[in-house]
Amino acid sequence: MNSASPKVARPRHAPDPGSSQPRWLFPFVFAILLLLSILPLGRLAVTGLLSLASGGGDGLLGDPALWTALWHTLTTSFLGMLVSVAIGGSFALLLTLFDIRLKTAIGFLFMLPMMIPPQVTALAWLGLTGPSSTLLKALGLAPPLGSPQPLYSIGGIALLLGVQNAPLVYLALRAGLLALPRDGVEAARLSGASALQVLRDIILPLALPGFAAGAAMAFVSNVGNFGIPAILGIPASIYTLPTLIYAKFASFGPSTFADISLLSGLIALLSLAGLTVEERLLRGRDYRIIGLSGRSAVFQLMGWRVFSEALLWLVLFLILLLPFAALVSSSLAPAYGVPLTLQTATLYAYEEVLLRQSITRTAFSNSIGLSLATAFGLLLVTVVMAYAVSRSGPRLAALINALADIPYALPGIVLAVACILLFAAPLPLLGVSIYGTIWIILFAYCSSFLAVSLRPLVSAFRQLDPSLEEAARLAGAGFGRRMRDILAPLIAPAAGAAVILVFLIACNELTVSALLWSAGTQTLGVVIYNLDDSGSFNLASALSVLVVLMVLVMMVLLELMASRLPKGVVPWRS
C-alpha cells in the first residue's frame, strides 16, 4: 500500500514479474485468522473441555441458577425475536413493497435502535415507564407509589431486545424483497390477480426464507445481549447466561475461570444452533436472481397510504423519540423523584460529566482511541484479506470468510472470556501479561470486528473488473504497485465505510469491555453502566445523550457517503 519503492519487479518478492499474487499473501491471511479467531476460541474450547473432563461441570450443572439463567435466556430471546419479527417485518414490507413517502428517512431512523448501545436503550426506556419516569412526572402521569417498574421483568427484557434487534429482521427481509422476480408479479397482475392475492401467493412465500433468517439473526443477537438484561434483569434478580457470567466474574473465586468457560461454551452452542438455522434458510435462495428485480414500489396503497405512513411514524415515535425524550429529561432532572419543570431543570449532570469527571475523558479517549485503532488496524489487514478472498476459489474464500465471521457471530461475552483465558497468564517468550491493560481490549475488538471490516471490502473487490488489474499486471506492475495505483482508489469508498462501521460498533461496545476493563481502561459502555450502578442515573443519562449524538453524526457521515459505496455496505440502504 504505502510501499515506497517505485520499482515493480523485485526478484525477492515476485520471481515472475507481475505474478498475480505475492507469495506471502495466503500465509499472512492465515496467520491473522490463527491469531484473531482460531487461537482465542480454541483456548476457550480446550479450557471448557478440560474442566468438563475433570468434573468441573458437575458443580455448575447441579446449580439451579444455571438452569434458571438458561431458561431466561431462551424465553427472553424467543419472545424478543417475535417482537423483532413483528416490528421489523412490518417496516420491511411497508417500506419495500408500498408507495410510502420519505422511505429513506424512515429507514434511516428505523436503523437507529440497532446502532445505539443496548444499555442506553435500557436506560432510556426506564426513564419512560414506571413511577421513576421523569418524563411521566413532568406530564403528571406517573403511576402511584409502589407501582412496580414494568420493565424489570422477562417481558420488559424481551420487549427491549425486540426493539433493539428489529432492524436485523428488517434488513434480512428487505434484501429478500428487493430481489424478488418482478416479472412473476407482473404476470400475475396481468392475469387479473388482486394485490392481496399477489402478496399472499407470490411475495410472502418467496420472502419467507428472508423472514426466517432475520428471525434467526435476531435470536442469536438476543442470546448474546448483555446491556439490556444487565440493566433490566439484575435489579429483579432475573439472570440470563451473559449476566450470570458477569455475576460469576464479579464474585471471583477459585472455580471462576472454569465456570465461566463452561457457561460461555453453553452460549456459544446456543448461538451456533441459531446460526446453523440461519445458514440453512439462506442456502437455497438462488431463485431470486431469476428475472428482473425491481426497486420501485409494487403496490399502490391508495386510501391506506396516509394511515400506513401515520402508523410507521407513530412506531418510530414510540420506539425512538419517546425513549430519547425520556433520556434527555432524566439527564436534566436535579435529583431522583423531582418533577421536571423549567425551574427545576438543570445542566448540572452535563457539567459534572463533561467538566468534573475525569472518568468521562478517560472513557471517551479510550473508546475513541480503541475504535480508531481497531478500525484502521483492521483495515490494514482486511484490505489484503479481501483481495485474497476475491482472488481465490469459492471453497477457500468460504473458509476465510467463515473463520473471520465466527468471532463476530458469537456473543461478545464468549469472546471476552476466551481472551481472559488466553491472556490471564503472561505471554510465552515475552513474559509480560496484557491482562488488565488496554491491549487485551484492543485484541478482543480486532477479533470481534474483523468480519465487519472484511465484508464491505470483499464486496468492493468482487465488483471490480479483474481486467484492470490484469492489464496492470501484464504491464509489469507488482502487487504493491497494483494495490496502490489501481485497486486502492477503487475500493476507497468501501474502505471508508468499513472504518466508520467498525468505529461505530466499537465505540458503543459494552459486553466485551465489561469483563476486560481495568484501571484507566474504562470504555464509554462501562462508564455508563457503572454510573447507573452507583446511583447516578442523571449522569448516566447525560453521558448516554452525548453518545447517541455521536452515533447520529457517524450515521449521517455514512449516509452522505452512501451513493459512492457498493450495494449493501450501508446497513440501512439496500
Binding site: F249, F252, S358, T362, V384, L442, A519, G520, F537
Partner: protein, 327 residues
C-alpha cells in the same frame, strides 16, 4: 514483506495511541460513588500537585473480585484501596496483601478506628438506616416497622452479595437478639426485595417504585437537599455503621504517593472534603454535615469485626438462602 511490515508498524502506532491512557502515578480502587471519588481525588491532587491519579469505582465485592482476578493473573493494578468496610481489609491484612504504614495523622483518631500496626485506617462513619418516600403513609421509626403490613411489598434493601456496607448491616442486625435472622425472614415474608447496591435502593425509593429502603445515610440526606421527595431516619434500635477504611496494597510500585494519599484523606483538609460531600468524618473534633443529628445522638448497634470476618461466609449463605438471587 514491505507492506506487511508497514502494516504492522501502523498497527503498533495506532495501538500505542490507544494505549496512551496508561501508567498513572497512583491507582485507587474505591467503592465511593463516582462524584465523590472524583471530588476526593481532586482534593488530593490539589494538595499534592504533580501526582497523576487513576481511579476505579465499583461495589466493594466487585472491586475485590476485580482485584483478586488481577492478582491471579499476576498483575494487580491498584495501589490504594478506599472501600466500604474494615472486615474486607482485615481479611486482606491476614492474607498479607496489605502494606503497613504508620500515618502521622493517626493521633487525631480514636484507637478503635484504625489498625494498630497501620494496615488500614477508617476515614468516615457511614451508618445504615431507613429512607422513605414522603408520599408513604407510614413514617417508620424502628427496624421492625418494615415488617409491618403497611410496608408489604414496599421495602427494598441492598444485597450483601454486592455491597460491603450491606453485609455488615445484615451481620449487625442478625447479631442483635431483638432482631436476628428471624427479622430478615419476616422481611422476606412481607415481600421485601434485596438486590444491587445502595444506589439502586436510593433510585427505587426516590422514584417511588418502593416506599421504604434500607440505605446508607449520606445518599438520601444529600438527595433530599437537592429536592428529592425522601426522608432518612435513624431507627430507635440504633444503626449499623461502616467506616470506609483506606489501605495500601503490598507490593505497590508507588508507595510514596500511596502514603501521601493516606495522609491526605486522614488530614483535616481531607476530612473537610468528606464533610462537604455529606459524610460524617472519622477524625476527632469534626462537625457533622448538615441534615444529620449530632454525632452523640446517633446510636450505633454493637458489632465485632473479628466475629464478622469469621462468620462472613455463613452469613452470606444464610442471607441468600432467605432472599435467593445473587446480588
Amino acid at each position: 514483506m514491505k507492506i506487511l511490515r508497514s502494516a504492522l508498524t501502523a498497527l503498533a502506532a495506532l495501538g500505542a495511541f490507544a494505549g496512551s491512557a496508561q501508567a498513572a502515578d497512583l491507582v485507587i480502587y474505591t467503592s465511593q460513588p463516582n462524584e465523590d471519588a472524583q471530588a476526593t481525588v481532586d482534593g488530593f491532587k490539589a494538595a499534592n500537585p504533580g501526582i497523576d491519579v487513576e481511579w476505579v469505582r465499583d461495589g466493594t465485592t466487585k472491586i475485590m473480585a476485580k482485584l483478586m482476578a488481577e492478582i491471579e493473573a499476576g498483575k494487580p493494578a491498584a495501589d490504594v484501596l478506599l472501600i466500604a468496610d474494615t472486615v474486607t481489609l482485615e481479611r486482606l491484612k491476614q492474607d498479607k496483601r496489605l502494606m503497613a504504614y504508620v500515618s502521622p495523622e493517626a493521633k487525631a483518631y480514636e484507637a478503635s478506628l484504625f489498625d494498630a500496626e497501620g494496615y488500614y485506617y477508617s476515614t468516615k462513619l457511614i451508618t445504615t438506616g431507613i429512607m422513605y418516600n414522603t408520599q408513604a403513609s407510614m413514617k417508620p421509626t424502628s427496624w421492625k416497622d418494615l415488617a409491618k403490613p403497611e410496608a408489604k411489598g414496599l421495602v427494598t434493601m441492598p444485597s450483601p452479595l454486592t455491597s460491603g456496607a450491606a453485609l455488615i448491616h445484615a451481620q449487625t442486625l442478625s447479631g442483635n437478639p431483638a432482631l436476628g435472622w428471624d427479622y430478615y425472614r419476616a422481611l422476606k415474608e412481607n415481600g421485601a426485595t434485596a438486590s444491587g447496591g445502595n444506589g439502586a435502593v436510593l433510585k427505587s425509593v426516590a422514584s417511588g417504585e418502593k416506599a421504604y429502603g434500607v440505605v446508607v445515610d449520606y445518599m438520601p440526606i444529600r438527595e433530599k437537599a437537592k429536592g428529592a421527595p425522601i426522608e432518612f431516619v435513624f431507627p430507635t434500635e440504633g444503626v449499623s455503621a461502616v467506616t470506609e477504611p483506606v489501605a495500601i496494597l503490598a507490593g505497590t510500585q508507588h508507595a510514596d504517593a500511596a502514603k501521601k494519599f493516606v495522609d491526605y484523606v486522614l488530614s483535616e483538609k481531607g476530612q473537610e472534603g468528606f464533610l462537604k460531600l455529606g459524610y460524617i468524618p472519622a477524625r476527632n473534633g469534626m462537625p457533622v454535615p448538615e441534615g444529620f443529628p449530632g454525632r452523640q445522638s446517633i446510636k450505633l448497634m454493637p458489632f465485632s469485626a473479628a466475629e464478622a470476618l469469621k462468620n462472613s461466609e455463613q452469613d452470606l449463605k444464610t442471607f441468600s438462602d432467605i432472599f435467593g438471587g445473587k446480588g
